[in-house]
Point group: C2
Chain length 261, copies 2
């Protein structure tokens, strides 16, 4: 397949930022060649990446993401270790038998310190796992740790921003953070922007601050998670960087850890 | 399949504007129930819908869209009539044996008056044909005829804006027109906006005028179509409304004609 057939990459790619609006855009059909990007950063502000960043900041040892609930349960049962907590959601709700949901406010240091957290969510963990298809280096971003994440992203020239989205559709909140990251990257050096990146950037330029009034925010508020929606809008409350690590020789394929800037 | 599983429609849909960023979003998997929307409007500003609007304004009798070149050729050969012109493009270029490409500037009244135009393009005609899957009423919009199109759209409550996009990815230019249409609709009455609609609306609020600097615009300029790129940015140069008509009992499934406001 020709490079020119891929979305966002008409010609030579250099010093470019591209945005994927949903993890579904990384399904087979539209996949670019392996490792086209030097780095990708995954966004699911409501709530998976906000939760991951909070948990690692509160001392969790690592996050072990799974695409399916079944896989997460199997892994938990196989290891059967008290330092391993089963966490996640489907449709915003904690599945039966899980120890924690996907609310960042649950992941206090009392609960998560030195623990390994198995995490499976509707969109966020899937986006994360798919990001490894397009780059070898994967970071996790939220509004909570945007500046420290941008600090590390700006070392790279070709950057993919992978928004988790809402069940295959674009997320208003994820796209805002994509735009904010682009604004911060452009303040450090020049990048050309894909069409999707131009759209995210202008969305942020129009808003200038988080506006969590999209469909998923409304749904979370209806489910009783107003505090989560408020919390996830905090900018730079946390200064850590979270990185996805590939472990090809290991039982776990990938994990997410706190890393150095 | 539950309504809540569809992108953009978390709950009750009423007085809502939703945007599809690419015709690929209307492929099987994510299709909402038939005729969920009262009306849809198709956008491919570079260049299919700008060409259709120009051709009908210059006196073309009708546009007959086909998804594939092969179908278009078969239809032309079957009818074999001098008032039938074969028009279109692939990758911006006129296919062999075609009488006209997809440059709106070719569609002068001298050439198209009283003619039926067979049209097949990479993204635009496909978006148009797919729009009939989600609504029974389909209009065609470009910057050239935006105000007259909005005049008719504002009679409806649930509106889908279907952008053709670039080969399955979002188009910077199409999304701008989506945002402009939303701004104009909101000035007439209240609508709630899907996440995608909020993004398009804020893109337009940030730009305030057409900014044709996206990937496909650059490609067209490289192919020598700078004049097309300039022309398609003209706002309200044309005051007609273009409508897609379903013809279930006919050899042609759909056609596009100039219609009354």
């Amino acid at each position: 397949m020709l490079l020119s057939n891929f979305p966002n990459y008409s010609y030579k790619i250099n010093n470019q930022i591209s945005v994927y609006f949903s993890h579904k855009e990384l399904n087979g059909e539209v996949l670019p060649p392996n490792f086209l990007f030097e780095v990708s950063v995954v966004i699911d502000v409501l709530r998976a990446t906000s939760t991951i960043v909070t948990a690692l900041n509160n001392g969790a040892k690592e996050i072990i993401p799974f695409e399916e609930i079944k896989e997460a349960l199997e892994f938990k049962n196989k290891i059967n270790e008290k330092n391993l907590l089963l966490c996640g959601e489907r449709g915003g709700i904690k599945p039966e038998g899980f120890e924690l949901g996907n609310s960042p406010l649950e992941f206090t240091s009392e609960i998560v310190k030195d623990k390994s957290l198995i995490l499976t969510t509707t969109n966020g963990t899937r986006a994360f796992l798919k990001a490894f298809k397009i780059s070898n280096k994967v970071y996790i971003a939220s509004f909570l740790n945007v500046s420290s994440t941008v600090e590390i992203l700006s070392k790279y020239n070709n950057i993919a921003i992978v928004c988790a989205g809402n069940n295959g559709s674009v997320s208003y909140e994820d796209t805002q953070l994509a735009g904010f990251i682009i604004e911060k990257l452009l303040s450090k050096k020049d990048y050309s922007l894909s069409d999707s990146a131009k759209i995210a950037y202008n969305l942020w330029k129009s808003l200038k601050k988080p506006d969590f009034t999209g469909e998923h925010a409304k749904k979370l508020i209806e489910l009783g998670f107003q505090k989560d929606v408020d919390y996830c809008q905090n900018i730079d409350k946390i200064s850590i960087v979270c990185e996805g690590i590939r472990q090809p020789q290991n039982l776990l394929k990938v994990k997410i850890i706190k890393t150095k800037i």
